[in-house]
């Protein structure tokens, strides 16, 4: 009952949730774990009690301990202990996945302590490669394995965020969103023009979304299949690469409870700097004066005099006491960013109970995560529970089991763009509240119709959505004859989304809404997956030939249904009142449904000769309901080979520093079907009207033909044209690479070169205006090529004094260009409409004008080419074709938008229970289009809105050195046009993560009957180095993102 007692003590921790089911699972653990220990009380020489620890001195469970030359053995228990009765002269072989095997002579000792060293690249490590597993040594494709150890304790809610910079060729962009849902993953560049997200395969179940609903603590391993030879087994959906996530299972003979928690404080990262109240008045005056008009803005008055040259000189900007005649809004100097942001707190509690028996195991976990968000009232909370279990029956010939996770994600529903936009738009002169401290400040005449962002957040705080998800599978695996496994798996991934929105009445300046509205939204969506596979592993020719064959099929059926209902005029806005029945007017509702299906067959053969020559081939045939009936099926083949040179005698004998060396080459095809569900069909739909027609065209088809406001008949509008020939987009990829390990695998690494050609890319293109409504049509259009290098290099060593350290660096490049465009759409991708097109340029490339500084004098303007709107202080555009006028034909490709390389560097060290980790990530040589300059550098591109503080240094006849155009109120020079003015070097290097941990000495923790206690502190995003040329606060952050926070974390992990 030892563990149960402890467990009960743990329950005292306020952090633990839902204790009852945990206790239930914990109880049988005791009996199961006790079993094997008592079985070896038989005749033998001596009883050896051992303790196996890892490199940190932590007890290592599940280590296989075998008496050399016999089958006599045991596994270590959860604390790393084992007991074995052996001959006093025996030698023990200790092995465990991820660690270097070690032999220990018993030599008459009855107690032994052994420390196992980890391998950075254990060649025997099992890697999940799609419907099967392979030893790492046998891999022939480009597969990256992410060590979950390195990213544990990171505070993000999305495990993918933590991979940023750690895998060469995988580019991750993210922001500080509390629910972790704004993450984009790009594997080896941009391969398509639509959705570039990779396919995720979690315990064999494919999904494209919702990785932020997975509990990071549940993850055992993450593998990235980058090239086609590795990924093509996932055929139709693998065009953007595949990320395989395997969750933890109970280890045989291990009963263990892990508890972990962290608390972090997040401070909002930098944002663009706007003008304060005084300075806005000043710049407005300057802009009007520059335009030759009298500054006229209702809430500023000016004192000025004529300067010596007759020019007006501003003496003072006078701000009135109140903004409005009713004197409700006292003028202020509100920093809207500051008012909408806060220091956020993130906390996580995780309990993981695993119990591995002889014939099966159960793992159960519960996790709670909460992030209050650095924007007020935008926090998210997540609960996840997992139950993974498996049972072996019929003499271990039949294994059945399931992996199942349920999650609930509750998050604020708010318009992020709107909040960030308004924070930069609403003038600082507007107060947060009216003088009574209750009403809202808002725009008055002279200020644009931009709402108070604090009001938007506050009035929205009750609007939180709940997303429930059930994800998992049940499987049965029968070994029919030795090595032949038949496996069937039925998986589900279903979500229920519920969101009740209350739109409140308000008055903020001249903006107001007198009718509140409640809208209830509900949708269910998801798919089932049925997979059947046959795996046959056999060894022939006395072990010289190993062969594995996989055959399988898979069916996926996805359905989505949604509806909403709303009413207005609720007498109370109390959360308990706002059920739909309480609304008195404007009953409205709507709904939709959609579905798609996939049917697939696949086969794979792996062959190895003497573990030296490796060959692998796959083929997959996929059918998708999304394509034209003539082209529903696609076939995706791949072949790859490997040569383990290090196994050859000529190397073994002559170059002993080489521990491992393998050359790989692969070729294969993958597909993409990520388009609208009914993309191949001509579709007509009825539309009574548009839900929010304020900022979008009304596309309605109903008309009041009777002129009486009732019984409106409605017709149908064409939504898209048919394309019965629509077929798969295909990506063909060639990869060559090498894996190496030198000096006893202290120095390890890999190099890869790839060429990836995507053809028949699925696009829905802009079209000639005369085609009219629903001219949209999905076609197999462009071709894109990506090619690049990826390098990974690691060094690890342990010094005699016990200091162990490791350095891992990675660097990746890719180049991207469009290689083909169908004639009918060639101008839809930019260019001058005639001879210049996007061909040969990146799909991230920007076409535009070359800004050539500012015009300084009227004489310069007169002498320059004809440019509509040219004047001193205005941007001068280059007359590229030299025809004396600036027009459409003076544009060129001004940036490719692709970095020279991405890189990451991880430094780790540990010594006597202390461990430290430092991680840098960077992007080099990217010239990005800095959209925020639109806000920060111009007073003419947004009227009635705030402008950037950079304008204080704008050009004037007395400040001619400035590169910032003179303030003006009218954009006569069209300076918002795409030009090099906005292109800036956005390279950066960030200190992503610093972590310092300490494991309490085993001697100490064992006194309180714990196995392991680790405490750590961590900082994220503390330092950034960026190009001087970059004018924004952070190249990684645009004004429209959720602020990327600085994070400080303290954490605790306890195992018992």
């Amino acid at each position: 009952m030892r563990k149960s007692v402890l467990f009960a003590r743990q329950l005292g921790l306020p952090a633990l949730l839902a204790a009852a089911p945990l206790a239930l699972v914990a109880l049988p653990n005791v009996a199961l774990a006790a079993g094997p220990k008592n079985t070896t009380r038989a005749y033998a020489d001596i009883t050896v009690t051992g303790q196996v620890n890892d490199e940190k001195g932590e007890g290592l469970p599940g280590v296989t301990v075998i008496v050399k030359g016999t089958t006599n053995g045991a596994s270590t228990d959860a604390t790393g202990k084992f007991t074995l009765t052996v001959s006093s002269t025996a030698t023990l072989v200790l092995s465990s996945v991820g660690y270097v095997s070690q032999e220990v002579a018993v030599a008459g000792h009855s107690t032994l302590t052994v420390q196992l060293k980890p391998t950075t690249q254990d060649l025997n490590e099992v890697v999940v490669t799609g419907y099967q597993t392979q030893k790492r040594a046998d891999l022939t494709g480009a597969v990256s394995v992410v060590k979950t150890d390195e990213v544990k304790g990171m505070t993000s809610n999305n495990v993918v965020n933590n991979l940023q910079g750690r895998v060469p060729g995988v580019q991750i962009t993210t922001d500080g969103s509390p629910s972790g849902n704004n993450t984009a993953v790009r594997i080896r560049g941009f391969g398509t023009l639509g959705n570039n997200d990779p396919l995720y395969v979690i315990d064999g179940i494919p999904t494209k979304t919702g990785i932020n609903q997975i509990n990071q603590n549940d993850i055992e391993s993450i593998q990235v299949l980058k090239d086609a030879s590795a990924a093509s087994i996932y055929g139709s959906r693998a065009g953007n690469g595949v990320i395989i996530i395997t969750t933890r299972k109970a280890k045989k003979g291990v009963t263990r409870v892990d508890f972990s928690t962290f608390l972090s404080a997040q401070t909002p990262g930098p944002h663009i700097k706007m003008l304060n109240t005084q300075d806005y008045g000043r710049i407005y005056w300057q802009a009007a004066t520059n335009d030759g008009v009298t500054p006229n803005i209702p809430f500023y008055s000016y004192q000025s005099h004529q300067g010596p040259a007759g020019q007006p000189v501003l003496d003072a900007v006078v701000v009135p006491e109140f903004l409005d005649a009713a004197k409700t809004q006292r003028t202020a100097d509100t920093d809207w960013f500051k008012e909408t942001q806060q220091t956020a707190f993130t906390q996580q509690y995780n309990v993981n109970v695993s119990n591995g028996g002889e014939h099966g195991g159960v793992l159960f976990s519960l996790n709670y995560y909460k992030n209050t968000g650095t924007l007020k009232y935008t926090g998210a909370e997540r609960w996840t529970g997992r139950l993974n279990s498996d049972y072996s029956l019929l003499g271990d010939h039949l294994k059945i089991g399931q992996n199942l996770t349920v999650s609930k994600l509750q998050e604020a529903q708010f318009d992020l763009n709107l909040i960030r936009d308004r924070s930069s738009q609403l003038l600082n002169i507007v107060p947060v509240h009216t003088v009574d401290g209750i009403g809202w400040g808002g725009p008055v005449n002279g200020i644009g119709d931009r709402d108070n962002p604090v009001r938007l957040l506050t009035d929205n705080q009750q609007n939180r959505s709940d997303l429930y998800r059930l994800f998992g599978n049940a499987f049965a695996d029968a070994e029919i004859i030795k090595g032949l496994h038949l496996r069937t798996s039925f998986g589900v991934d279903y979500s229920l989304y519920k969101y009740n929105e209350l739109y409140k009445t308000f008055t903020a300046g001249y903006l107001s809404n007198a009718n509140n509205r409640v809208t209830n939204n509900e949708s269910t969506f998801g798919n089932w997956v049925w997979q059947n596979t046959l795996n046959y592993d056999l060894t022939l020719g006395g072990g010289n030939h190993t062969l594995s064959v996989l055959l399988g099929n898979e069916r996926i059926s996805y359905n989505q249904e949604a509806f909403y209902a709303s009413r207005t005029n609720f007498a109370s806005q109390d959360p308990n009142y706002i059920v739909l029945d309480a609304g008195s007017a404007n009953k409205d509702n709507g709904g939709s449904a959609t579905s798609y299906r996939l049917a697939s067959y696949f086969a794979k053969v792996n062959y190895a000769f003497k573990d030296r020559y490796l060959l692998s081939g796959t083929i997959r045939r996929d059918g998708s309901s999304r394509f034209g009936s003539d082209n529903q099926f696609g076939i995706f083949p791949a072949v790859s080979g490997g040569w383990r040179i290090s196994e050859e005698n000529f190397l073994k004998n002559n170059a002993t520093f080489v521990s491992d060396l393998k050359l790989r080459a692969g070729w294969g095809q993958t597909g993409n079907q990520d388009i609208a569900n009914y993309a191949s069909r001509a579709v007509y739909q009825s539309s009574l009207g548009t839900l929010d027609p304020n900022f979008a065209y009304d596309i309605g088809t109903a008309y009041d033909i009777y002129g009486n406001d009732t019984n409106l008949p409605a017709g149908y509008r064409r939504v898209q044209q048919a394309n019965p020939n629509l077929k798969w987009e295909t990506t063909t990829q060639t990869n060559v690479g090498a894996d190496f390990g030198f000096l006893g695998n202290k120095l390890t690494g890999s190099v890869d070169y790839f060429v990836k050609n995507s053809t028949d890319i699925l696009v829905n293109l802009p079209y000639l205006g005369v085609v009219g409504e629903g001219g949209d049509k999905f076609v197999n259009g462009a071709s894109i090529q990506n090619k690049g290098w990826e390098f990974l290099l690691g060094y690890q060593n342990t010094l005699a004094n016990g200091l162990s350290f490791n350095i891992t660096g990675n660097l990746a490049t890719f180049r991207n260009k469009l290689t083909y465009l169908p004639a009918e759409v060639i101008n839809a991708y930019g260019g001058n409409g005639q001879d210049v097109t996007r061909l040969g340029h990146s799909i991230n490339a920007t076409y535009g004008y070359v800004a050539d500084g500012l015009y300084q004098t009227a004489a310069e303007v007169a002498g320059g080419p004809t440019q509509v709107g040219a004047a001193p202080g205005r941007i001068r555009y280059k007359d590229l074709n030299g025809d004396g006028k600036i027009d459409n034909f003076d544009q060129t490709w001004i940036t490719e938008g692709i970095p020279n390389f991405n890189y990451g560097l991880n430094l780790g060290a540990s010594w006597k229970g202390f461990d430290v980790q430092v991680f840098f990530q960077g992007v080099q040589g990217i010239y990005a289009y800095n959209n925020s300059k639109f806000r920060t550098d111009f007073s003419s591109l947004a009227s009635g809105e705030n402008w950037g503080a950079r304008l204080l240094d704008a050009w004037s006849p007395t400040n001619t050195g400035s590169g910032i155009p003179a303030p003006t109120l009218v954009n006569s020079n069209n300076e918002g046009r795409a030009s090099t003015y906005f292109v800036e070097n956005a390279s950066y290097l960030k200190l992503r993560n610093v972590q310092l941990g300490y494991n309490l000495p085993t001697s100490l923790v064992s006194k309180i009957r714990l196995q392991n206690v680790r405490i750590y502190v961590q900082g994220q995003n503390f330092l950034i180095a960026k190009s001087k040329q970059f004018t924004g606060p952070d190249p990684e952050v645009t004004n429209y993102q959720y602020p990327v926070p600085h994070v400080f974390t303290t954490g605790l992990n306890v195992s018992f």
Partner: protein, 575 residues
């Protein structure tokens, strides 16, 4: 291998082999959608005609093609853009000042696309109507006439904006669209195509339609008259008026006579009725866009093209666009004795600005139906007095606002869609006054001025009688109204022409047609440059305004469309 294992293997292979009807499994039909062929039933064809009608009012404030206010009024010297400053929807600022208008302004491209979107709905309906058997769809011919009327309307809008446009009808296959140049038809031939649609509509439409929103024969006759009137003024490639086609004018006169003779229409006794919800589908409405609210659609089918054109007071909120120019307001001055317009000196001195100015000078009553003035009741409500705080940036655009398109906040048609407003008040495409003045214009150009005189005076008489709602709270008249009729004496062709043009301006001020009138008459350039020369003293931002003759009569063909056509489309003169 024992039997158990063998059978397991067999079962497993069978499971893998189940290609159990993949085709059937993958046959997933769209939900909530119909295929092209499903729309060919008479019921659905009828609905496709409705879809074409609904496009009449599917616009939005940045391309308001129902009221046409930026294109017809702001460009015509009758209105300033208004709003939050010159940069607020700056496309309209460039339209207003012409100097910095460009080929790549997205609002212009959007206008082009929205017109072809509307035309595509018409062509879709027509294609199906042409194919259906008249015995299964007895309304076939009538519906064909309606759709051709609608298509004529959309092409008319395109034509007056861009002059040269590709003409696409229902007989052309989609794959051939890219081969149709905007210069395939001459200026005149394009007008004829538009006229053909209206002729077909005249031929097949009944005199009366039981459903009020549908076009009838008179509406088609009126729109045909309008088209022929525009076509009658022949134009050079450089947009100069080169002559006037008397035979077209004669037909205009005949068509207007037919509308008049139908006896279905008359002028409302009060001019105001045209601009009130209660006047929807009244006797003066020849064809109007039917807006609706509380109609079972999510947010109503309301007038969104005008949604920026409301005052800034708390009852509305936003956005003070579409402000009458001082020149327009001054044009409402009348001669204190004759009550006739002051053709030559209305704008030389004494701007009408304050409420007292309107009492010190005699004015045409239509000014208080058209222009919101500080101190005057807004929209005929004596207790709802227009205040100087209701205007957004008076330093830039002055203190006046347009009223014809707006409704009171208490009106049942009023719809707030924060931050904007709209209403379900109908928008007239053709009102009867138009028919009378088209006829008058045709007669004058046919040198029959005497016959035109009573028509113009009919309009003025109605204006004269339209002061019943123009009262302050104390019952006194808002302004000093004086409006008289033109005497027969001295009503020469030249004088009549001036009178007609002035009358159109007063009657249809802020209704979206002024600029197109000026271009039709061939006087846009000199007229507008003269306007700028004076008006810039009041509105500094107009100091950069300049109309380039031979270019600015039309919008440029959008650069996007030229690029997408791979250079097939030719740019307009001067651009």
């Amino acid at each position: 291998m024992n039997l158990f294992k063998t059978s397991l293997l067999a079962v497993s292979l069978l499971t893998l082999g189940v290609s159990c009807n993949d085709k059937g499994f993958l046959d997933v039909n769209p939900t909530g959608a119909l295929s092209d062929s499903q729309l060919n039933t008479p019921e659905n064809i009828d609905k496709q005609v409705i879809a074409a009608y609904s496009q009449l009012g599917n616009d939005i404030y940045y391309v308001p093609y129902t009221s046409m206010w930026p294109y017809g009024n702001v460009r015509g010297g009758d209105a300033y853009k208004g709003g939050g400053g010159t940069a607020d929807v700056d496309a309209f600022h460039f339209y207003e000042t012409f100097s910095f208008n460009r080929v790549d302004i997205s609002n212009t491209d959007e206008f082009w696309y929205r017109m072809y979107l509307s035309i595509s709905r018409c062509n879709d309906a027509l294609r199906r109507l042409n194919a259906v058997d008249a015995t299964t769809m007895p309304t076939k011919a009538i519906r064909q006439g309606e759709v051709r009327f609608l298509r004529g309307h959309f092409y008319f809008l395109l034509k007056e904006m861009f002059k040269y446009v590709p003409y696409i009808d229902e007989s052309l296959a989609t794959e051939d669209y890219p081969n149709v140049s905007n210069r395939a038809l001459s200026n005149d031939a394009l007008w004829s195509k538009i006229a053909d649609d209206f002729r077909a509509a005249v031929a097949s439409l009944p005199a009366d339609q039981s459903e009020i929103g549908r076009a009838n024969k008179s509406a088609a006759q009126a729109y045909l008259a309008k088209t022929l009137l525009y076509q009658a003024y022949t134009q050079s490639d450089a947009n100069a008026v080169t002559g006037i086609d008397a035979s077209k004018l004669t037909e205009v006169n005949t068509l207007c006579d037919a509308v008049i003779a139908s006896g279905k229409y008359q002028l409302h006794s009060d001019f105001a009725t045209n601009f009130l919800t209660t006047g929807d589908n009244g006797v003066e409405s020849v064809f109007a866009i039917q807006f609706s609210r509380n109609d079972g659609t999510p947010k109503g089918r309301t007038d969104r093209g005008n949604e920026l054109n409301y005052p800034m007071n708390p009852d509305y909120g936003c956005c003070s666009f579409h402000q009458p120019s001082q020149n327009l307001i001054n044009a409402f001055k009348t001669d204190a004795t004759t009550g006739l317009p002051r053709f030559t000196d209305f704008n030389t001195s004494g701007d009408l600005v304050t409420a007292s100015d309107f009492l010190a000078t005699t004015v045409d009553p239509r000014v208080d139906h058209t222009v919101a003035v500080v101190g005057h009741p807004f929209k005929y409500s004596p207790t709802f007095v227009f205040d100087n705080s209701w205007v957004r940036v008076p330093g830039v655009y002055g203190y006046n606002l347009s009223m014809k398109e707006s409704v009171l906040p208490t009106d049942p048609s009023f719809q707030k869609t924060p931050p904007f407003m709209s209403s379900s008040k109908n928008w007239a495409i053709i009102r009867y006054a138009d028919v009378l003045l088209w006829k008058a214009e045709a007669l004058i150009e046919l040198n029959r001025s005497a016959d035109a005189l009573p028509l113009i005076n009919q309009i003025r008489t109605r204006a004269q009688n339209s002061t019943g709602r123009l009262k302050q709270a104390n019952g006194s008249a808002i302004s000093n109204y004086k409006i008289g009729q033109y005497p027969t004496a001295g009503f020469t062709q030249a004088y009549a022409r001036e009178a007609l043009r002035f009358e159109r301006r007063m009657e249809f001020a802020m209704e979206g047609c002024r600029f197109f009138d000026l271009v039709r008459w061939g006087i846009a350039g000199p007229y507008l440059n003269a306007y700028f020369a004076k008006e810039k003293n009041l509105r500094q931002y107009l100091s950069t305004a300049n109309f380039t003759v031979g270019r600015d009569e039309y919008m440029p063909i959008p650069l996007n469309q030229i690029n997408f056509s791979k250079g097939l489309y030719k740019q307009n003169n001067g651009w």
